[in-house]
Protein backbone atom coordinates (compact mmCIF):
# COMPACT_ATOMS: atom_id res chain seq x y z
CA UNK A 1 0.00 0.00 0.00
CA UNK A 2 2.87 2.34 0.83
CA UNK A 3 4.28 1.83 -2.63
CA UNK A 4 1.00 3.01 -4.18
CA UNK A 5 1.66 6.45 -2.64
CA UNK A 6 -1.98 7.46 -2.49
CA UNK A 7 -2.27 11.12 -1.56
CA UNK A 8 -3.66 11.64 1.92
CA UNK A 9 -3.21 7.99 2.89
CA UNK A 10 -0.81 6.98 5.71
CA UNK A 11 0.22 3.41 6.49
CA UNK A 12 1.34 1.97 9.80
CA UNK A 13 2.28 -1.59 10.71
CA UNK A 14 1.91 -3.05 14.18
CA UNK A 15 2.30 -6.47 15.70
CA UNK A 16 -0.47 -5.62 18.13
CA UNK A 17 -2.82 -2.69 18.40
CA UNK A 18 -2.33 -0.62 21.49
CA UNK A 19 -3.21 2.55 23.35
CA UNK A 20 -1.23 4.94 21.20
CA UNK A 21 -3.05 3.71 18.11
CA UNK A 22 -6.07 5.50 19.53
CA UNK A 23 -4.14 8.75 19.19
CA UNK A 24 -3.18 7.87 15.60
CA UNK A 25 -6.81 7.07 14.73
CA UNK A 26 -7.97 10.34 16.27
CA UNK A 27 -5.90 12.22 13.71
CA UNK A 28 -7.64 10.72 10.67
CA UNK A 29 -11.07 10.85 9.05
CA UNK A 30 -11.08 7.26 7.87
CA UNK A 31 -9.25 4.27 9.36
CA UNK A 32 -8.93 0.80 7.85
CA UNK A 33 -7.60 -1.99 10.06
CA UNK A 34 -6.09 -4.79 7.98
CA UNK A 35 -5.10 -8.22 9.24
CA UNK A 36 -5.06 -11.89 8.36
CA UNK A 37 -8.13 -13.78 9.51
CA UNK A 38 -9.14 -17.32 10.32
CA UNK A 39 -12.44 -18.90 9.48
CA UNK A 40 -13.36 -16.86 6.42
CA UNK A 41 -14.96 -18.49 3.40
CA UNK A 42 -14.16 -15.62 1.04
CA UNK A 43 -10.75 -14.17 0.13
CA UNK A 44 -11.50 -11.16 2.31
CA UNK A 45 -14.27 -9.31 4.11
CA UNK A 46 -14.68 -5.58 4.54
CA UNK A 47 -16.88 -4.40 7.38
CA UNK A 48 -17.71 -1.16 9.10
CA UNK A 49 -16.64 -1.05 12.75
CA UNK A 50 -17.61 1.23 15.63
CA UNK A 51 -15.97 2.00 18.99
CA UNK A 52 -16.56 -0.87 21.38
CA UNK A 53 -15.79 -2.23 24.83
CA UNK A 54 -12.14 -2.09 25.82
CA UNK A 55 -11.97 -5.64 27.04
CA UNK A 56 -8.87 -7.02 25.39
CA UNK A 57 -9.02 -10.63 24.32
CA UNK A 58 -5.43 -11.04 25.40
CA UNK A 59 -4.28 -8.38 27.72
CA UNK A 60 -1.70 -5.91 26.45
CA UNK A 61 -3.21 -5.76 22.99
CA UNK A 62 -6.42 -3.95 22.10
CA UNK A 63 -8.87 -4.88 19.37
CA UNK A 64 -9.80 -2.37 16.63
CA UNK A 65 -13.07 -1.48 18.39
CA UNK A 66 -11.22 -0.78 21.63
CA UNK A 67 -8.66 1.39 19.83
CA UNK A 68 -11.54 3.39 18.38
CA UNK A 69 -13.04 3.63 21.88
CA UNK A 70 -9.77 5.16 23.13
CA UNK A 71 -9.91 7.68 20.25
CA UNK A 72 -13.53 8.51 21.08
CA UNK A 73 -13.27 8.69 24.87
CA UNK A 74 -9.86 10.28 25.20
CA UNK A 75 -9.68 12.51 22.13
CA UNK A 76 -13.36 12.96 21.26
CA UNK A 77 -12.80 11.70 17.71
CA UNK A 78 -14.77 8.97 15.99
CA UNK A 79 -13.28 8.38 12.55
CA UNK A 80 -15.19 6.28 10.07
CA UNK A 81 -13.59 2.84 10.37
CA UNK A 82 -13.50 -0.49 8.57
CA UNK A 83 -11.85 -3.84 9.14
CA UNK A 84 -10.35 -5.55 6.11
CA UNK A 85 -9.96 -9.20 7.08
CA UNK A 86 -7.91 -11.26 4.65
CA UNK A 87 -8.33 -15.00 4.68
CA UNK A 88 -5.24 -16.90 5.87
CA UNK A 89 -4.70 -20.56 5.20
CA UNK A 90 -1.77 -21.57 7.42
CA UNK A 91 -0.88 -20.00 10.75
CA UNK A 92 1.88 -22.37 11.75
CA UNK A 93 5.42 -21.12 12.43
CA UNK A 94 7.10 -20.59 9.10
CA UNK A 95 8.17 -18.15 6.42
CA UNK A 96 6.10 -16.25 3.89
CA UNK A 97 2.51 -16.66 2.81
CA UNK A 98 0.87 -19.63 1.16
CA UNK A 99 0.02 -19.19 -2.52
CA UNK A 100 -3.68 -18.96 -1.69
CA UNK A 101 -3.02 -16.30 0.94
CA UNK A 102 -0.90 -14.36 -1.57
CA UNK A 103 -3.83 -14.38 -3.99
CA UNK A 104 -6.24 -13.26 -1.28
CA UNK A 105 -3.86 -10.46 -0.32
CA UNK A 106 -3.60 -9.25 -3.91
CA UNK A 107 -7.37 -9.18 -4.29
CA UNK A 108 -7.81 -7.37 -0.99
CA UNK A 109 -5.15 -4.80 -1.87
CA UNK A 110 -6.78 -3.94 -5.19
CA UNK A 111 -10.13 -3.62 -3.49
CA UNK A 112 -8.70 -1.36 -0.79
CA UNK A 113 -6.93 0.89 -3.29
CA UNK A 114 -10.18 1.43 -5.19
CA UNK A 115 -12.08 2.02 -1.96
CA UNK A 116 -9.59 4.65 -0.81
CA UNK A 117 -9.58 6.37 -4.19
CA UNK A 118 -13.36 6.63 -4.02
CA UNK A 119 -13.29 7.77 -0.42
CA UNK A 120 -10.98 10.66 -1.34
CA UNK A 121 -13.17 11.83 -4.19
Amino acid sequence: MKKRRLAGVCCDANYQLNLEDGLACAGHDLVVFVDAARGLRRPFTFKRIAPGPALPAMSHALGPAAVLAVAAELYGKTPEARVLAIRGHSFAVGEGLTERAERNLALALEFLVEFLKEARS
Binding site: N14, Y15, L19, E20, L23, A54, M58, S59, H60, L74
Partner: protein
Amino acid sequence: MGQKITIEPVTRVEGHGKVTIRLDDAGKVIQSRFHIVEFRGFERFVQGRPYWEAPVLVQRLCGICPVSHHLASAKAMDVVVGAGPGKLTATAEKMRRLMHYGQMLQSHALHFFHLSSPDFLLGMDADPAVRNIIGIIALDKELATRAVLLRKFGQEIIEATAGKKIHGTGAIPGGINKNLSPEERDRFLKGPEPLTADRMIEWSAAAIELFRDYHRKNKDLVDGFAQFPSNHLSLVRKDGALDFYHGVLRAVDADGRKVLDDVDYQDYLEHIGEEVRPWSYMKFPYLRALGKADGWYRVGPLARLNTCDYVPSPLAQKEFETYRAYTDGKPNNMSLHTHWARLIELLHSAEVIRDLLRDKDLQGTKLVKTGRRVPEGVGLVEAPRGTLFHHYRVNDDDQITMANLIVSTTNNNEPMNRAVNWVAMNVLSEKPVITEGMLNRVEVAIRAYDPCLSCATHALGRMPLEVTLLGADGRVLQRKVR
Protein backbone atom coordinates in the same frame (compact mmCIF):
# COMPACT_ATOMS: atom_id res chain seq x y z
CA MET B 1 -18.62 -32.73 47.36
CA GLY B 2 -15.30 -31.03 46.64
CA GLN B 3 -14.92 -28.17 44.19
CA LYS B 4 -12.44 -26.82 41.63
CA ILE B 5 -12.12 -23.26 40.22
CA THR B 6 -10.55 -22.49 36.87
CA ILE B 7 -9.95 -18.93 35.63
CA GLU B 8 -9.50 -18.85 31.85
CA PRO B 9 -8.55 -16.53 30.35
CA VAL B 10 -6.79 -14.32 32.83
CA THR B 11 -7.21 -11.00 31.08
CA ARG B 12 -4.61 -8.29 30.85
CA VAL B 13 -1.73 -10.76 30.82
CA GLU B 14 0.00 -11.82 27.63
CA GLY B 15 -0.57 -15.27 26.19
CA HIS B 16 -2.57 -18.34 27.10
CA GLY B 17 -2.68 -19.79 30.58
CA LYS B 18 -5.11 -21.39 32.94
CA VAL B 19 -5.64 -21.23 36.68
CA THR B 20 -7.22 -24.24 38.34
CA ILE B 21 -8.26 -24.23 41.97
CA ARG B 22 -9.53 -27.44 43.56
CA LEU B 23 -11.73 -27.31 46.63
CA ASP B 24 -12.72 -30.08 49.05
CA ASP B 25 -16.24 -30.85 50.16
CA ALA B 26 -16.15 -28.06 52.73
CA GLY B 27 -15.05 -25.50 50.13
CA LYS B 28 -11.49 -25.40 51.45
CA VAL B 29 -8.73 -24.99 48.85
CA ILE B 30 -6.68 -28.14 48.55
CA GLN B 31 -4.67 -27.30 45.38
CA SER B 32 -4.08 -24.36 43.05
CA ARG B 33 -2.14 -24.36 39.80
CA PHE B 34 -1.27 -21.79 37.19
CA HIS B 35 -0.91 -23.77 33.95
CA ILE B 36 0.40 -22.73 30.59
CA VAL B 37 -1.37 -24.50 27.80
CA GLU B 38 0.64 -23.55 24.71
CA PHE B 39 3.70 -25.27 23.34
CA ARG B 40 7.29 -24.08 22.93
CA GLY B 41 8.20 -23.67 19.29
CA PHE B 42 10.80 -21.00 18.68
CA GLU B 43 13.77 -22.94 20.03
CA ARG B 44 13.14 -25.52 17.32
CA PHE B 45 12.17 -23.00 14.68
CA VAL B 46 15.55 -21.23 14.75
CA GLN B 47 17.54 -24.44 14.38
CA GLY B 48 19.18 -24.57 10.98
CA ARG B 49 18.87 -20.82 10.47
CA PRO B 50 22.02 -18.69 9.97
CA TYR B 51 23.13 -17.20 13.29
CA TRP B 52 22.83 -13.61 12.10
CA GLU B 53 19.09 -14.08 11.58
CA ALA B 54 18.46 -14.96 15.22
CA PRO B 55 18.14 -11.40 16.61
CA VAL B 56 15.44 -10.65 14.06
CA LEU B 57 13.66 -14.01 14.18
CA VAL B 58 13.32 -14.57 17.91
CA GLN B 59 11.75 -11.23 18.72
CA ARG B 60 8.67 -12.39 16.82
CA LEU B 61 7.68 -14.57 19.73
CA CYS B 62 6.55 -11.44 21.56
CA GLY B 63 4.51 -8.36 20.70
CA ILE B 64 5.26 -6.59 23.97
CA CYS B 65 8.98 -6.94 24.65
CA PRO B 66 10.47 -7.90 21.26
CA VAL B 67 13.40 -5.57 21.94
CA SER B 68 14.47 -7.74 24.88
CA HIS B 69 14.60 -10.82 22.68
CA HIS B 70 16.29 -8.85 19.91
CA LEU B 71 19.02 -7.66 22.28
CA ALA B 72 19.49 -10.87 24.27
CA SER B 73 19.91 -12.74 21.02
CA ALA B 74 22.25 -10.10 19.60
CA LYS B 75 24.34 -10.25 22.78
CA ALA B 76 24.64 -14.03 22.46
CA MET B 77 25.69 -13.62 18.83
CA ASP B 78 28.20 -10.92 19.83
CA VAL B 79 29.96 -13.69 21.73
CA VAL B 80 29.76 -16.00 18.71
CA VAL B 81 31.43 -13.41 16.43
CA GLY B 82 34.10 -12.62 19.02
CA ALA B 83 32.68 -9.27 20.10
CA GLY B 84 31.22 -10.25 23.44
CA PRO B 85 30.79 -8.17 26.58
CA GLY B 86 32.97 -5.07 26.71
CA LYS B 87 34.07 -5.34 23.09
CA LEU B 88 31.32 -3.40 21.30
CA THR B 89 32.02 0.14 20.15
CA ALA B 90 30.71 2.88 22.44
CA THR B 91 28.17 3.90 19.81
CA ALA B 92 26.85 0.36 19.42
CA GLU B 93 26.52 -0.28 23.13
CA LYS B 94 24.87 3.07 23.85
CA MET B 95 22.44 2.76 20.93
CA ARG B 96 21.42 -0.64 22.21
CA ARG B 97 21.02 0.74 25.72
CA LEU B 98 18.85 3.56 24.43
CA MET B 99 16.72 1.04 22.56
CA HIS B 100 16.39 -1.12 25.67
CA TYR B 101 15.56 1.69 28.08
CA GLY B 102 13.01 2.99 25.57
CA GLN B 103 11.42 -0.40 25.71
CA MET B 104 11.46 -0.47 29.51
CA LEU B 105 9.73 2.89 29.50
CA GLN B 106 6.95 1.90 27.12
CA SER B 107 6.41 -1.55 28.64
CA HIS B 108 6.33 -0.37 32.27
CA ALA B 109 4.02 2.52 31.39
CA LEU B 110 1.72 0.22 29.47
CA HIS B 111 1.60 -2.27 32.29
CA PHE B 112 0.90 0.18 35.06
CA PHE B 113 -1.55 2.51 33.38
CA HIS B 114 -3.33 0.11 31.05
CA LEU B 115 -3.27 -3.17 32.94
CA SER B 116 -2.81 -2.55 36.65
CA SER B 117 -4.15 0.89 37.44
CA PRO B 118 -7.78 -0.17 36.80
CA ASP B 119 -7.49 -2.53 39.79
CA PHE B 120 -6.14 0.23 42.00
CA LEU B 121 -8.01 3.29 40.81
CA LEU B 122 -11.35 1.65 40.02
CA GLY B 123 -11.19 -1.15 42.56
CA MET B 124 -10.67 -4.90 42.37
CA ASP B 125 -14.42 -5.39 42.84
CA ALA B 126 -15.45 -2.84 40.20
CA ASP B 127 -17.64 -3.97 37.33
CA PRO B 128 -15.27 -5.64 34.85
CA ALA B 129 -17.08 -3.78 32.07
CA VAL B 130 -15.51 -0.55 33.33
CA ARG B 131 -12.43 -1.94 35.12
CA ASN B 132 -10.17 -1.24 32.15
CA ILE B 133 -8.48 1.57 30.29
CA ILE B 134 -11.76 3.12 29.17
CA GLY B 135 -12.75 3.29 32.82
CA ILE B 136 -9.45 5.05 33.54
CA ILE B 137 -10.15 7.55 30.75
CA ALA B 138 -13.55 8.30 32.28
CA LEU B 139 -11.93 8.70 35.71
CA ASP B 140 -8.90 10.80 34.80
CA LYS B 141 -8.27 11.94 31.21
CA GLU B 142 -4.98 13.58 32.05
CA LEU B 143 -3.64 10.35 33.52
CA ALA B 144 -4.80 8.37 30.48
CA THR B 145 -3.22 10.93 28.14
CA ARG B 146 0.09 10.54 29.96
CA ALA B 147 -0.20 6.77 29.62
CA VAL B 148 -0.64 7.05 25.87
CA LEU B 149 2.24 9.48 25.45
CA LEU B 150 4.70 7.65 27.73
CA ARG B 151 4.08 4.55 25.68
CA LYS B 152 4.35 6.51 22.42
CA PHE B 153 7.62 8.15 23.50
CA GLY B 154 9.14 4.76 24.32
CA GLN B 155 7.96 3.33 21.02
CA GLU B 156 9.49 6.24 19.12
CA ILE B 157 12.82 5.75 20.91
CA ILE B 158 12.68 2.12 19.79
CA GLU B 159 11.88 3.15 16.23
CA ALA B 160 14.80 5.58 16.15
CA THR B 161 17.28 3.00 17.43
CA ALA B 162 15.95 -0.28 16.02
CA GLY B 163 14.69 1.03 12.69
CA LYS B 164 11.08 0.07 13.44
CA LYS B 165 8.94 0.47 16.53
CA ILE B 166 8.16 -3.24 16.51
CA HIS B 167 10.44 -6.07 15.40
CA GLY B 168 13.31 -3.83 14.42
CA THR B 169 16.66 -4.81 12.97
CA GLY B 170 19.01 -2.36 14.71
CA ALA B 171 21.13 -4.79 16.73
CA ILE B 172 23.30 -7.12 14.69
CA PRO B 173 25.99 -9.57 15.81
CA GLY B 174 28.91 -7.41 16.89
CA GLY B 175 27.10 -4.08 16.99
CA ILE B 176 24.36 -1.95 15.56
CA ASN B 177 23.39 -0.90 12.04
CA LYS B 178 22.62 2.77 12.65
CA ASN B 179 23.46 5.66 14.91
CA LEU B 180 21.16 8.40 16.15
CA SER B 181 20.99 11.51 13.99
CA PRO B 182 21.19 14.93 15.65
CA GLU B 183 17.64 15.60 14.39
CA GLU B 184 16.31 12.50 16.13
CA ARG B 185 18.21 13.39 19.30
CA ASP B 186 16.86 16.93 19.33
CA ARG B 187 13.31 15.75 18.79
CA PHE B 188 13.47 13.60 21.94
CA LEU B 189 15.22 16.28 23.99
CA LYS B 190 13.43 19.41 22.79
CA GLY B 191 10.11 18.25 21.49
CA PRO B 192 7.57 19.14 20.18
CA GLU B 193 6.06 19.16 23.64
CA PRO B 194 5.01 17.16 25.48
CA LEU B 195 7.03 14.34 23.90
CA THR B 196 10.35 15.20 25.54
CA ALA B 197 12.60 13.23 27.86
CA ASP B 198 12.17 15.81 30.61
CA ARG B 199 8.39 15.52 30.44
CA MET B 200 8.63 11.72 30.64
CA ILE B 201 10.75 12.08 33.78
CA GLU B 202 8.18 14.43 35.30
CA TRP B 203 5.27 12.11 34.49
CA SER B 204 7.14 9.03 35.73
CA ALA B 205 7.79 10.74 39.06
CA ALA B 206 4.10 11.66 39.26
CA ALA B 207 3.15 8.02 38.67
CA ILE B 208 5.24 6.98 41.68
CA GLU B 209 3.41 9.55 43.78
CA LEU B 210 0.10 8.19 42.51
CA PHE B 211 1.04 4.71 43.67
CA ARG B 212 2.38 5.94 47.00
CA ASP B 213 -0.87 7.79 47.64
CA TYR B 214 -2.79 4.58 46.97
CA HIS B 215 -0.39 2.74 49.25
CA ARG B 216 -0.90 5.23 52.08
CA LYS B 217 -4.65 4.71 51.87
CA ASN B 218 -4.54 0.92 51.39
CA LYS B 219 -1.47 -0.16 53.34
CA ASP B 220 -2.81 -3.49 54.58
CA LEU B 221 -3.89 -4.57 51.10
CA VAL B 222 -0.73 -3.46 49.31
CA ASP B 223 1.60 -4.88 51.94
CA GLY B 224 -0.25 -8.07 52.70
CA PHE B 225 -1.61 -9.19 49.33
CA ALA B 226 0.32 -12.23 48.07
CA GLN B 227 3.25 -11.59 50.35
CA PHE B 228 5.60 -14.55 50.65
CA PRO B 229 9.36 -14.97 51.07
CA SER B 230 11.49 -15.93 48.07
CA ASN B 231 14.91 -15.74 46.51
CA HIS B 232 15.45 -12.93 43.99
CA LEU B 233 17.62 -12.96 40.86
CA SER B 234 18.75 -10.35 38.34
CA LEU B 235 21.66 -8.91 36.48
CA VAL B 236 23.48 -6.13 38.31
CA ARG B 237 26.31 -3.95 37.08
CA LYS B 238 29.70 -5.07 38.36
CA ASP B 239 29.61 -2.32 40.98
CA GLY B 240 26.16 -3.44 42.17
CA ALA B 241 24.15 -0.79 40.32
CA LEU B 242 20.79 -1.50 38.71
CA ASP B 243 21.42 -2.22 35.03
CA PHE B 244 18.87 -3.51 32.52
CA TYR B 245 21.26 -4.10 29.63
CA HIS B 246 24.30 -5.85 31.02
CA GLY B 247 25.95 -7.13 34.17
CA VAL B 248 26.69 -10.16 36.29
CA LEU B 249 24.16 -12.54 37.79
CA ARG B 250 23.30 -11.96 41.41
CA ALA B 251 20.76 -13.79 43.58
CA VAL B 252 19.80 -13.07 47.16
CA ASP B 253 17.57 -15.03 49.50
CA ALA B 254 14.54 -13.69 51.35
CA ASP B 255 16.80 -12.21 54.04
CA GLY B 256 19.22 -10.60 51.61
CA ARG B 257 22.07 -13.11 51.82
CA LYS B 258 23.84 -13.60 48.49
CA VAL B 259 23.13 -16.98 46.91
CA LEU B 260 24.76 -16.14 43.57
CA ASP B 261 27.64 -13.78 44.04
CA ASP B 262 27.97 -11.80 40.82
CA VAL B 263 28.77 -14.65 38.44
CA ASP B 264 29.42 -14.49 34.70
CA TYR B 265 26.21 -15.42 32.89
CA GLN B 266 28.12 -17.33 30.22
CA ASP B 267 28.21 -20.01 32.94
CA TYR B 268 24.50 -19.83 33.74
CA LEU B 269 24.00 -23.57 33.30
CA GLU B 270 26.25 -24.16 36.30
CA HIS B 271 23.95 -22.07 38.44
CA ILE B 272 20.43 -22.34 37.00
CA GLY B 273 18.50 -25.58 36.55
CA GLU B 274 15.10 -26.05 34.89
CA GLU B 275 12.63 -28.49 36.41
CA VAL B 276 9.85 -29.98 34.29
CA ARG B 277 6.52 -30.74 35.97
CA PRO B 278 3.94 -32.91 34.22
CA TRP B 279 1.02 -30.51 34.66
CA SER B 280 2.64 -27.48 32.97
CA TYR B 281 4.34 -26.80 29.65
CA MET B 282 6.32 -24.03 31.33
CA LYS B 283 9.51 -25.10 33.11
CA PHE B 284 10.36 -24.21 36.69
CA PRO B 285 13.86 -22.68 36.94
CA TYR B 286 15.80 -22.90 40.19
CA LEU B 287 19.16 -22.02 41.70
CA ARG B 288 21.24 -25.18 41.70
CA ALA B 289 22.97 -24.11 44.90
CA LEU B 290 19.66 -24.39 46.77
CA GLY B 291 18.09 -27.28 44.85
CA LYS B 292 14.69 -27.71 43.22
CA ALA B 293 12.61 -27.38 46.36
CA ASP B 294 14.15 -24.21 47.75
CA GLY B 295 15.95 -22.69 44.78
CA TRP B 296 13.03 -21.01 42.98
CA TYR B 297 13.27 -17.28 42.69
CA ARG B 298 11.53 -14.12 41.56
CA VAL B 299 12.71 -11.94 38.69
CA GLY B 300 11.50 -8.53 37.50
CA PRO B 301 11.21 -5.13 39.15
CA LEU B 302 10.77 -6.44 42.70
CA ALA B 303 13.74 -8.77 42.36
CA ARG B 304 15.94 -6.16 40.68
CA LEU B 305 15.44 -3.65 43.46
CA ASN B 306 16.20 -6.41 45.95
CA THR B 307 19.45 -7.48 44.32
CA CYS B 308 20.97 -4.14 43.33
CA ASP B 309 22.87 -1.90 45.72
CA TYR B 310 21.81 1.37 44.18
CA VAL B 311 20.09 2.99 41.20
CA PRO B 312 22.45 5.02 38.99
CA SER B 313 20.24 8.04 38.32
CA PRO B 314 19.49 10.72 40.90
CA LEU B 315 15.70 10.92 41.08
CA ALA B 316 15.18 7.17 40.90
CA GLN B 317 17.91 6.66 43.50
CA LYS B 318 16.05 8.95 45.87
CA GLU B 319 12.87 6.95 45.35
CA PHE B 320 14.83 3.72 45.75
CA GLU B 321 16.09 4.89 49.14
CA THR B 322 12.53 5.50 50.33
CA TYR B 323 11.48 2.14 48.91
CA ARG B 324 14.31 0.26 50.60
CA ALA B 325 13.79 2.06 53.89
CA TYR B 326 10.23 0.73 53.95
CA THR B 327 11.62 -2.79 54.54
CA ASP B 328 14.58 -1.58 56.61
CA GLY B 329 16.93 -2.39 53.76
CA LYS B 330 15.85 -6.04 53.68
CA PRO B 331 14.48 -7.68 50.52
CA ASN B 332 10.91 -6.73 49.75
CA ASN B 333 8.71 -9.83 49.37
CA MET B 334 5.35 -8.10 48.86
CA SER B 335 3.93 -8.91 45.44
CA LEU B 336 2.01 -5.66 45.00
CA HIS B 337 5.15 -3.68 45.76
CA THR B 338 6.26 -4.91 42.33
CA HIS B 339 4.19 -2.02 40.99
CA TRP B 340 6.08 0.44 43.17
CA ALA B 341 9.39 -1.04 42.01
CA ARG B 342 8.21 -0.95 38.38
CA LEU B 343 7.43 2.75 38.61
CA ILE B 344 10.83 3.51 40.13
CA GLU B 345 12.29 1.68 37.14
CA LEU B 346 10.06 3.73 34.85
CA LEU B 347 11.57 6.89 36.31
CA HIS B 348 15.08 5.46 36.07
CA SER B 349 14.50 4.55 32.42
CA ALA B 350 13.36 8.08 31.61
CA GLU B 351 16.43 9.54 33.33
CA VAL B 352 18.79 7.18 31.52
CA ILE B 353 17.15 7.97 28.18
CA ARG B 354 17.68 11.69 28.74
CA ASP B 355 21.31 11.17 29.74
CA LEU B 356 22.02 8.89 26.79
CA LEU B 357 20.46 11.38 24.39
CA ARG B 358 22.95 13.97 25.58
CA ASP B 359 25.87 11.60 24.89
CA LYS B 360 27.75 12.44 21.67
CA ASP B 361 28.75 8.79 21.25
CA LEU B 362 25.29 8.20 19.81
CA GLN B 363 26.35 10.13 16.72
CA GLY B 364 29.49 8.00 16.33
CA THR B 365 30.12 6.08 13.14
CA LYS B 366 31.99 3.02 14.41
CA LEU B 367 29.12 0.62 14.64
CA VAL B 368 30.41 -2.97 14.38
CA LYS B 369 33.24 -5.05 15.84
CA THR B 370 34.26 -8.60 15.08
CA GLY B 371 36.82 -10.98 16.56
CA ARG B 372 37.52 -14.70 16.77
CA ARG B 373 34.48 -16.77 15.86
CA VAL B 374 33.38 -19.30 18.53
CA PRO B 375 30.64 -21.96 18.42
CA GLU B 376 28.54 -20.89 21.37
CA GLY B 377 27.21 -17.78 23.06
CA VAL B 378 24.93 -16.71 25.88
CA GLY B 379 23.17 -13.35 26.00
CA LEU B 380 21.22 -11.94 28.94
CA VAL B 381 19.27 -8.76 29.48
CA GLU B 382 16.88 -7.59 32.12
CA ALA B 383 13.61 -7.53 30.18
CA PRO B 384 10.73 -5.50 31.63
CA ARG B 385 9.40 -8.66 33.26
CA GLY B 386 12.79 -9.94 34.45
CA THR B 387 15.92 -11.75 33.49
CA LEU B 388 15.91 -13.13 29.95
CA PHE B 389 18.38 -15.85 28.91
CA HIS B 390 19.29 -16.64 25.29
CA HIS B 391 21.79 -19.43 24.61
CA TYR B 392 22.81 -20.66 21.15
CA ARG B 393 25.24 -23.11 19.57
CA VAL B 394 26.34 -22.50 15.97
CA ASN B 395 28.05 -24.99 13.63
CA ASP B 396 30.89 -24.38 11.17
CA ASP B 397 28.34 -23.63 8.44
CA ASP B 398 27.01 -20.74 10.55
CA GLN B 399 23.77 -22.56 11.29
CA ILE B 400 22.16 -22.54 14.72
CA THR B 401 22.14 -26.08 16.08
CA MET B 402 20.75 -25.42 19.55
CA ALA B 403 18.76 -22.66 21.19
CA ASN B 404 17.68 -22.43 24.81
CA LEU B 405 15.58 -19.51 25.96
CA ILE B 406 14.63 -18.94 29.59
CA VAL B 407 12.22 -16.05 29.49
CA SER B 408 11.25 -13.78 32.35
CA THR B 409 7.81 -15.27 32.79
CA THR B 410 9.29 -18.76 33.02
CA ASN B 411 11.64 -17.54 35.73
CA ASN B 412 8.57 -16.28 37.60
CA ASN B 413 6.62 -19.51 37.14
CA GLU B 414 6.87 -20.70 40.75
CA PRO B 415 6.32 -17.21 42.25
CA MET B 416 3.18 -16.76 40.15
CA ASN B 417 1.96 -20.14 41.35
CA ARG B 418 2.69 -19.10 44.93
CA ALA B 419 0.84 -15.82 44.42
CA VAL B 420 -2.19 -17.66 43.03
CA ASN B 421 -2.03 -20.05 45.95
CA TRP B 422 -1.96 -17.14 48.40
CA VAL B 423 -5.17 -15.76 46.91
CA ALA B 424 -6.76 -19.20 46.82
CA MET B 425 -5.99 -19.77 50.49
CA ASN B 426 -6.68 -16.27 51.76
CA VAL B 427 -9.52 -15.07 49.55
CA LEU B 428 -11.37 -18.03 48.06
CA SER B 429 -11.05 -20.81 50.61
CA GLU B 430 -14.16 -21.73 52.59
CA LYS B 431 -16.26 -18.94 51.11
CA PRO B 432 -19.90 -19.82 50.37
CA VAL B 433 -20.00 -17.72 47.20
CA ILE B 434 -17.14 -17.00 44.82
CA THR B 435 -17.62 -13.53 43.36
CA GLU B 436 -16.13 -12.00 40.22
CA GLY B 437 -14.10 -9.68 42.42
CA MET B 438 -12.61 -12.64 44.28
CA LEU B 439 -11.62 -14.27 41.02
CA ASN B 440 -10.20 -10.98 39.80
CA ARG B 441 -7.86 -11.08 42.79
CA VAL B 442 -6.34 -14.24 41.32
CA GLU B 443 -5.65 -12.22 38.20
CA VAL B 444 -4.32 -9.30 40.23
CA ALA B 445 -1.79 -11.65 41.82
CA ILE B 446 -0.64 -12.92 38.42
CA ARG B 447 -0.73 -9.48 36.85
CA ALA B 448 1.74 -8.08 39.41
CA TYR B 449 4.37 -10.15 37.59
CA ASP B 450 3.20 -8.77 34.21
CA PRO B 451 3.61 -12.19 32.65
CA CYS B 452 4.07 -12.69 28.95
CA LEU B 453 2.83 -16.19 28.34
CA SER B 454 3.40 -16.01 24.62
CA CYS B 455 7.09 -15.57 25.43
CA ALA B 456 7.03 -18.27 28.06
CA THR B 457 5.52 -20.81 25.76
CA HIS B 458 6.97 -19.45 22.55
CA ALA B 459 3.51 -19.59 21.06
CA LEU B 460 1.94 -17.64 18.27
CA GLY B 461 -1.60 -16.65 17.55
CA ARG B 462 -4.56 -16.31 19.83
CA MET B 463 -3.61 -16.85 23.44
CA PRO B 464 -6.34 -16.49 26.06
CA LEU B 465 -6.36 -17.68 29.65
CA GLU B 466 -9.02 -19.06 32.00
CA VAL B 467 -9.79 -19.64 35.68
CA THR B 468 -11.86 -22.69 36.70
CA LEU B 469 -13.20 -23.85 40.05
CA LEU B 470 -13.44 -27.64 40.33
CA GLY B 471 -15.02 -29.89 42.90
CA ALA B 472 -13.17 -32.84 44.39
CA ASP B 473 -14.90 -35.06 41.84
CA GLY B 474 -13.52 -32.93 38.98
CA ARG B 475 -16.84 -31.26 38.21
CA VAL B 476 -16.51 -27.66 36.96
CA LEU B 477 -18.29 -25.40 39.45
CA GLN B 478 -17.36 -22.05 38.01
CA ARG B 479 -15.36 -20.91 35.03
CA LYS B 480 -14.30 -17.40 34.25
CA VAL B 481 -13.77 -16.69 30.56
CA ARG B 482 -13.81 -13.14 29.32
